[in-house]
Structure formats: C-alpha cells, structure tokens
C-alpha cells in the first residue's frame, strides 16, 4: 500500500534498520514533504510525476486558500470557494500521511509523526507556512484573535472577521493593523483595506476604516493610494509609520488599539500580527534568528541543515515575495532540484516568476510581477523585468486584471489540488 507503511519503524531504530540510499544516476529516493499548501502540494505532485517515492505530510483534510479570502470577508464570495481537498492528489498517486509532523531529526533524516510513525527520507521539503507571533504584540494572543481576528490564515478566522464586519454598527469604526516586513502576502493587508472599504461604502456608508501601518512604503502603493482616493475618500484613513501608524499594544477587552501617539477605539479590530516560519521549521533547525529560513537560491536547500529544503512563505527567498504563486513556482523548481540531486545530477540555476493580483473593488484589479534568479547567493530580481500595473491605466485594464485574477485562482488551485 503506502510507502509510509513499509518504512514505518519505531523511532530510534530507523537509522540502523534501513540501508543508505543509493545516489547513482537514475536512482530513486525517498522524499518527504511537510505541508500541503500551494508549495508542498505542488512539490509532492512534481516529485511523484518524476517517479520518486514521495509522502506528503498534511493533517488537514480541507485546505483553506488565502488568496481571495479578502473577498469572503467583504461578503463578495462564499467561504466554500476557498476550500480544497486532497482527493485529486491522492488519485494521482501521491501518498498522503494525514497527520502532522512533530519533529524533524536532520542528522538521522527522520520525521516523527503525530500518529506515532516515523518517516525516513533522503531529502525533506518543508513547506510549513507561517506562524503568527503571539509574543510580538502586547495584548495580542490566541484568545485576543477571537475578539480581534487576524484572518491571516484562511478558515475559521476568515469567517469570524466576515461575521464581525457584517455585524458592525452603522457609523462604526474599523481598525486594521499591518505589521512590518516580512510577512505573508505583502499587498494582502491593502487589498483587505480596499475590500472592507468597499463593503462599508455599500452597506454602512457612515462607517470609517483606519489602517495603522508599521511601514511607510508597501507593495503596489501608488496603485492602492490612487484607487483609495478615487473610490473611498473620507472613508479609508491610512496612517503610515511616519504619522504614528505602528501599533504597540492592543486591549481586546476595551477594544482599543494603541500606537505611540494615540489610542484608537474600535468597533471592529482586525490585527495582522508579526509572523515567522511555522514551529516545525524552528524545531528542525532550519529557521534562523529572524524566525525565517535561509536557503540556497538554486535548490532551496537549507543553509543550516543539509538535505532539508524550505519553500513557500517560511523561506527567505530574497526578492521573491511570500505569495501563493511564488510557493507554487518554488515547489516546482525545488522538486526538480531534489530529483536532480537524488539522481546525482547538478541542478541548473533556475529562473522563477511571481505574479500577484489584488482587488481594490469588484472589477478593479491591479498586479505586480517579477522574474528572479540566483545572484550572489540569493534570489534577486532580474533587472529590467517585472513591476506593477501602470498607474494611469484605463478602466478596461483594471477590469481585465480583475478577470485575470479570477482566472489565475481557478488555474492554480486546479493545478495544485485538482
């Protein structure tokens, strides 16, 4: 049956009980992938297609996609449109261990699973996503997130924020706090601000949205600010770092959000806290002091622990942003590199692309794109390529980018989970 059954052995015995892998040309290898999001599910699919023995470790039966979840919050889209299962991956032949990874032993090349089994690997790909840093913002912890949702991992939090927005009293105040870099989905908070403003304009026009930002500059800034001025004047107030936008503490009981200069009383607060790589990355020893994972830009192999590769939001991917498109692209490149390495070939230097759309209103899309290559040990922008949509584009281009955004979502979710 599954590969995991054959090699499930008691912890501690595996290192001596199993033969060393052969690394000759064409040799197969055992690859474990931790995390079934856009990065991990992609990598597992590509590795399986290449004929490798791959096990994807993922405890959830449903994956809740973050892209387009801001539309759910604004009542523009049902939550069901964000749900994806693993039937497609299973049907294609990928072995899925429906459990979580508790510990990685990089020296023994083993993953200890929560169901008691042990998974031996020749190469491990970690695509664990983010953890919210509940230690980084005074007053904000897991309990506070039930009152002041972050909704930065899609699922129950998305629905909670949508419910709270729908229940906002007319004339109420929404406060949205945005962390400093780096964090998952750089333009995501500004898309959220836009679509919350759209919701308020349509349903509660006397309400107000205050965006408190720990930064002065952000992704697609000119495009967002142009759209806000045109679509949401007097409704959306943006407070950058320089104007005192950095949130220093929150009080969920009092529903207040504090900066160094002012304390804001909110009827609804959405707090997007600082983030880091998910805990398994730290446990495996592949996260550095920043909380994120340094990698080789050709293979995505960890700079800290050999034979462990890190992709997606958890990785320090240089100029590449933490996006679903990037995780998907990295999953393919990393899987090809792992296939080469296991066959004794030297992986060629890759190029990767990122495309990221944001909606500022229904039918109004903007985008940023980039092309990246390894340069001086990191993934760097290919000079002359990439950039954002033009600031002076006509409505037809905005409409087209909104359509492309929808189409991208259909295509990528079908390719990864279909």
């Amino acid at each position: 049956m599954s590969g995991i059954g054959r090699r499930a052995v008691l912890a501690g015995l595996a290192a001596t009980a199993l033969p060393r892998p052969a690394l000759a040309q064409g040799a197969r290898g055992r690859v474990a992938v931790i995390g079934g999001g856009f990065g991990g599910a992609t990598a597992a699919r590509v590795l399986h297609r290449a004929g490798l023995d791959v096990t994807l470790v993922e405890p959830a039966e449903t994956y809740w996609a973050c892209p387009f979840s801001n539309e759910v919050i604004a009542g523009l889209r049902p939550m069901s449109a964000q749900a994806f299962g693993y039937e497609g991956l299973r049907a294609s032949g990928v072995t899925i261990a429906r459990t979580s990874a508790e510990a990685v032993d990089g020296a023994a090349r083993q993953v200890r699973l929560a169901d008691g089994r042990t998974l031996d690997y020749d190469r491990l790909i970690l695509s664990p996503g983010i953890a919210l840093r509940f230690d980084a913002l005074p007053g904000y912890d897991a309990a506070a997130a039930e009152t002041m949702p972050h909704a930065w991992k899609a699922g129950a939090q998305t629905e909670l924020l949508a419910q709270k927005l729908a229940a906002l009293p007319e004339g109420g105040t929404v406060v949205l706090s945005v962390p400093g870099n780096p964090y998952r989905c750089p333009p995501g908070p500004y898309e959220r601000a836009s679509l919350i403003a759209y919701y308020l304009k349509a349903h509660k026009p006397r309400a107000k949205l205050i965006v408190l930002d720990a930064k002065d500059t952000f992704s697609k800034q000119k495009l967002f600010e142009q759209a806000w001025k045109a679509l949401y004047p007097g409704l959306l107030e943006y407070v950058p770092l320089a104007a005192g936008g950095q949130v220093t503490a929150v009080d969920p009981a009092a529903m207040t959000v504090a900066t160094d200069f002012e304390t804001y009383k909110a009827d609804l607060a959405c707090i997007i806290p600082p983030q880091r790589a998910a805990p398994i990355a730290t446990q495996a020893g592949v996260a550095d002091r920043s909380g994120w994972c340094p990698i080789d830009p050709v293979t995505f192999e960890s700079r800290l622990v050999p034979r462990i590769h890190v992709i997606g939001d958890a990785a320090i991917a240089g100029a590449m942003p933490k996006s679903a498109f990037a995780a998907n692209a990295q999953g393919k490149v990393c899987a090809e590199a792992v296939t080469d390495l296991l066959a004794g070939r030297t992986p060629a230097a890759p190029k990767l692309i990122n495309t990221c759309y944001s909606l500022v209103a229904p039918g109004y899309g903007i985008s940023v794109a980039g092309v990246y290559h390894p340069d001086k040990g990191v993934l760097a922008d290919v000079e002359g390529a990439g950039g954002t949509s033009p600031v002076d584009a006509p409505d037809t281009v905005r409409q087209q980018e909104a359509t492309y955004a929808e189409d991208w979502y259909r295509t990528i979710t079908s390719a990864v989970f279909g």
Partner: protein, 80 residues
C-alpha cells in the same frame, strides 16, 4: 515511472508558466496546441512592447531571446 525527458529538461523559468496558463477556456490563454514558433514570437513581441499586454510585457523582459526560445520549445513539447 521514471522521469520523463520533458520533465527533466524544463529550462529556466518554464515551470512558472503554468501558474497562470492552464486549461483552454480561461481568460488567460492556454498554451496547449501552440507551436514553439508562435510562443517564441509572442514572447519576443511582449518583450519589445510590440504586442500590448497587462502582465506578460513585464515578465517577458526577464528572459533573453535564447531563454524564450528554450521555454517555447519546452511548452510546445508538452512540458508544464
């Protein structure tokens, strides 16, 4: 079940294309059935600005003529 020659030979950048270009019928054109010549010519026109685009003009500038040709050959050969 060994790696197919196509899968092993993805040139730099080629595997990212399927992040947007999927099955026929979508707003973003499918690349299925296009010849290598068509794809290479399109990439060249996007790069020079001769062919208007929203996103591909920004992406094509990241690839040289020879890289574009390798990607076109790969995609036309059924790579994804």
């Amino acid at each position: 079940m060994l790696a197919s020659p196509v899968a092993a030979a993805a040139p730099p950048g080629a595997s990212s294309c399927s992040g947007c270009h999927g099955a026929p019928g979508g707003a973003v054109p499918s690349l299925i059935g296009h010849s290598a010549e068509d794809i290479a010519a399109s990439l060249s026109a996007f790069r020079s600005g001769a062919r208007p685009a929203t996103v591909m003009n920004r992406i094509a500038k990241g690839f040289s003529e020879s890289e574009s040709r390798a990607i076109a050959d790969y995609l036309a050969g059924g790579g994804q």
